[in-house]
Symmetry: C2
Subunit: 346 residues, 2 copies
Amino acid sequence: MLEPSPLDERKQQILKAVVSDYTVTGMPVGSQVLAAKYFIALSSATIRNELADLVGTGYLQQPHTSAGRIPTDRGYRYFVDFLMEPEAASATVRRTVRQEFESAPRSVDGILEKAAMVLSQVTENVSLVTAPEVSESRIKHIDLVSLEPQSVLIILVLEGNLIKQQVVHLERATTQEDLSRMAAMLNQKVKGQTADELSSRLDLLGPDRAEQRRIIERLIESITTHQAQRQTIVLHDGVRNLLRHPEFVEVGRLEELMELLEQGAQLASILQQVEFEKDVEIVIGRENTSSGLRECSLVLTTYKMADRIRGTIGVIGPTRMHYGQVVARVRLVSHATSDVLAHLGN
Amino acid sequence: MLEPSPLDERKQQILKAVVSDYTVTGMPVGSQVLAAKYFIALSSATIRNELADLVGTGYLQQPHTSAGRIPTDRGYRYFVDFLMEPEAASATVRRTVRQEFESAPRSVDGILEKAAMVLSQVTENVSLVTAPEVSESRIKHIDLVSLEPQSVLIILVLEGNLIKQQVVHLERATTQEDLSRMAAMLNQKVKGQTADELSSRLDLLGPDRAEQRRIIERLIESITTHQAQRQTIVLHDGVRNLLRHPEFVEVGRLEELMELLEQGAQLASILQQVEFEKDVEIVIGRENTSSGLRECSLVLTTYKMADRIRGTIGVIGPTRMHYGQVVARVRLVSHATSDVLAHLGN
DNA sequence: ATTGGCAGTCTCGATCACCGAGTGCTAACT
DNA sequence: AGTTAGCACTCGGTGATCGAGACTGCCAAT
């Protein structure tokens, strides 16, 4: 493979034509179809020469000697970086998305589930949605419920009606009355702070009753560590769509992918690396670190819940996907999700 | 197909041998292997005669003329009803289950997720777990959080640390202080009741302040209707296991199944029909009402959370499964789940 | 630089023959 | 009557062969 020499105009057009045609038909593209459908002014022989060059520079490949050309990962990369034309989501799709979100439950979880559902539907791929990063989310309300004498259920209501719960065991028995008092106090002190800020504000609590203070320290410590080590949950939907793609007729490919989807941890770390500033991020084929994604592409972006609180949303599909359309629809659903979340109450 | 004439002892043994061998090898079973492996005293010709009878009565079928026999749905049914021998879960499996549950989070959702995970793992099939029916669950704690002036978040803590949340919109603005007072009152009055009982106890609230009472009515109404229409959530895990079974090499079969799993509603109605009294319920192939399950079997049972509160747990796999083993393991995980839930605090 | 022509390569599908597994049937045997 | 050996027959699976078709790469002409 030679160095990534810059492509002249005609090579770019040919690469673009190959990618476009291949994503639609799924068949390797030959010089004759290219000449007939896209380059009537040129002969197939000329195109053959150009194709040979594109193979030499690593943008295209041939499945076998007497077949047409298909894009390599590098070809797709060049396509999405330089050749892909912006596409707007169709009115039909926009209507679908709007209608689906209208029927969504008024809770963060419900909305995210709906987002995963509708995104997989309109892109015909597997959708991925991470819950928003809560460590930076402001606390609206704390509630303490006594389960057993030494066992307390902590309920945190965060921005956007996000509810986090956890059980903590205390060294000594505490009544519901005590807990309610502590909750009331905590609510006054910590309201509007992020979980991260909690620990640093501990001293603001005042040194009144040492015992109570120790319990509160214990609770806050539990909250912060819990938030920190909490693994990101990745919702997904639409595996059924993937089964319709011809690249998955052999189930071997699917097996690795399903493992990735069902265990989630590895996916979570990938999705967390999506940068908030970027618009839409595309990872193609072997650019993925996971071997299960060797022949898949990711199209990812972020949605916004409150000012600094974001999550990742996107799709995973075969490298041979209609990138322009998928990008447009991922963006559409991301914006719609942000909108709905914004109106959820703060 | 003739009527289901009762099978004599030898026919039963042959049917049993066919099912056993077929579930292991996946290959149609011929008269010669049967004679060699299971019936050394008999000649293959004799077995051929018996096999022909079993085909005639509908317990076996031949994929084609010169192939061995495989069980029909009826054959499997007879097997699980009369021939299947009780199998105990191996020590290894029991240890796996125990260890997995030890690392489970101390919340109902977490435990159920873990149950789904471990069940799919030990049965190598897709696991199904429904959340427990909450309509009969007792309320331990009610919390009201003001989101916006006219918007209230209701948090219900039910038996077993089960947390239900919902947003209600009120006709007039209400402060957090008012809500806290109402919550305190509600907690005194409704503690220990089921959501169903709530509406009938409304009159116990006393006629003190009409306005406040109206709000409370509104809240309770919202709680009860919400609980009633809430669709059962069905967790599943282990689709990756299914891909390893040879019956799913052609993805067409899988597609219908995935649709069923991902939409959930139809599955929920199936799972809700599992009777609590029964031990383990098995539904084989076309006995299923869903066309997507034509070639699958369900092995289902219930787990217990509190006295009357139960959920369904089980697996879905190809009709050709090792029923004895799967039944044992479903039962094992069900009991383990019940145990862990019982120790969760009440 | 482009093009027409042409020989060469490779896949895919159809056809065919063959092997082997397994059956059903009949006649003999206990 | 039930059981068995023997045998002819059926049928799916495998592998080989062959031709058609699709493209290519290369070369010589434009």
